[in-house]
Symmetry: C2
Subunit: 318 residues, 2 copies
């Protein structure tokens, strides 16, 4: 079975770990969000790709869900001693090496997809990890603070401000001109099923879908497209998805997120058991829906979620 998964960071990575357990024989291609990418200290940092790579490769800091295990912050401390920031972005020493290798390869002319493949030869994530695009896309957020309107990088909004001010708009700058990375459209066309993990629908999966050609390829693949709600009981399971959902005029409910993707794209939708009441509304909108436990408390629970998603895909197909 060939499975294509659109993934953001922590949520996508943890879901993938469950999916690998649920479908050990499957051929999994991950299309990773690169809208979170940021240049820090002259280095190209790809938080979502790295979170997937580290999580599946056994190098992740399990508690925080991002960054390396057994991490130290000596380089960052020294940079701060030079007065060089930003201090709010937690780049560890081990993590720095990844960004140094990536930046060097990019400078040598390799596209991000080739760089990601090279990094994965060390981590062996057990999936094929593709960036959504080799072109630079950077998610910016329009905010109003102290009566002043400004546009900031997504990471500044998310990590520095902790989404503490309302997002007025979320713009994947560069997406319109971006092309899907080599292999992305081919993987979608060859897929037996496409899954949207409980990743952020706006700044993770939404950004991937904003790359011209990807949404269309998924809609036209003629295979089941099944998603899992990142919103449970009216609030995001983790992260601050409600803040960016508000920016695109979408309520923080499992049903509203399904409707945001739309029946033209989505064939099946899993909501949490606490949202059982939403099933009828989602089905009325033309999307097959089931209520199942959606808390990724451990890999077994997550594998069960993946199994239910694949079951729903089989149901859609038949």
């Amino acid at each position: 079975m060939r499975i294509v998964v659109l993934a953001g960071g922590i949520g996508g990575a943890r879901f993938l770990r469950g999916l690998k357990q649920a479908a050990p024989e499957a051929d999994i291609t991950v299309i990773g969000n690169t809208g979170d990418d940021i240049h820090l200290f002259g280095l190209k940092v790809c938080p979502d790709l790295d979170t997937v790579m580290y999580t599946l490769g056994g190098g992740i800091n399990e508690e925080q869900g991002w960054g390396r295990t057994d991490e130290s912050f000596r380089v960052k401390e020294e940079l701060a001693a030079y007065g060089v920031g930003p201090g709010w972005f937690g780049l560890g020493d081990r993590d720095f090496a990844t960004h140094i290798v990536r930046t060097q390869m990019l400078a040598a002319g390799y596209p991000l997809s080739a760089v990601t493949e090279a990094l994965c030869t060390r981590w062996n994530p057990g999936v094929r990890l593709l960036p959504m695009s080799d072109d630079r896309v950077e998610t910016h957020v329009a905010v109003e603070t102290d009566g002043e309107r400004k546009v900031i990088h997504f990471q500044e909004y998310w990590v520095k401000l902790r989404a503490s001010v309302p997002a007025e708009a979320v713009v994947p700058v560069g997406a319109e001109q971006a092309k899907p990375a080599p292999g992305v459209l081919e993987a979608i066309a060859a897929a037996d099923v496409v899954l949207f993990p409980p990743s952020n629908p706006v700044v993770s999966i939404g950004t991937i879908l904003a790359v011209p050609g990807i949404r269309e390829a998924i809609a036209e693949a003629g295979v089941p497209v099944v998603g899992l709600s990142p919103v449970v009981g009216g609030a995001p399971v983790r992260g601050m998805a409600d803040k960016v959902l508000a920016a695109v005029g979408v309520e923080s409910t499992a049903a509203a997120v399904a409707a945001h993707y739309g029946s033209g794209l989505l064939d099946g939708w899993l909501v949490d058991t606490v949202d059982e009441g939403a099933v009828a509304a989602v089905e009325a909108a033309g999307i097959r829906c089931r209520a199942v436990p959606l808390m990724m408390t451990d890999t077994d629970a997550t594998a069960e979620m993946a199994r239910r998603a694949l079951e729903l895909a089989a149901e859609v197909r038949s």
Copy 2:
């Protein structure tokens, strides 16, 4: 008193520490060798400038004489895990921060002299540290290994091969086209004395003198130029200066090094007491010479060396 010092790495840095103690009121400008500079992991590394900056700023690893105190090597270990080298160059985590800041500033368009000044605002070395040039100069060494002749970067010769094969030629690539950094010629013209510490006469001081205009400015400054022999008893005090002296056809003796600089440049020369027999020959060559203890065993001993150099300069002047 305005003192200009031409400095390489460890020897130059330690001498400067003694000089600061010997002449606490002096206005010291250091013209640092940048021929040892190397690009590693996409970062610009300036070993000699950093050794001077860390030594005078209290950040040096005292035992090894280069690199940061209390250093760790996690970034390097991770780079090795990615198969990215070279493993033979010991870049520590704290040191990495310096190179990251420098590389970022260079990429932003600042010349190396401005970058060095910015780095020094943190370290307060108590001297004005200038790179010899803002232009790229890279010392290469021609060697013959396994019957094959090749040209390698100085650091590969020095650090990787430990100068274990004869150097057939030492070439400061780019020196001919290089211009002295802003302030270099001005500092020489305004100096009351110019000192050559016991640094490597070929790959440290020789490289600085290879930048067109610097040798001439020193020769024409009309002030005492006094050097301290890095060779004691027929062998370099530290490092492998004999290997590169051989490449330029100079014997490893205190007298031969003085003759290599020449009386057109050098007014005074200090040799170690064990080389007292060389004094007459150096003086016969037109260079005033004294035999004094030249082992930089501690700062007091080094300060005494600096004092003797300044005394010899005063003697030359009168």
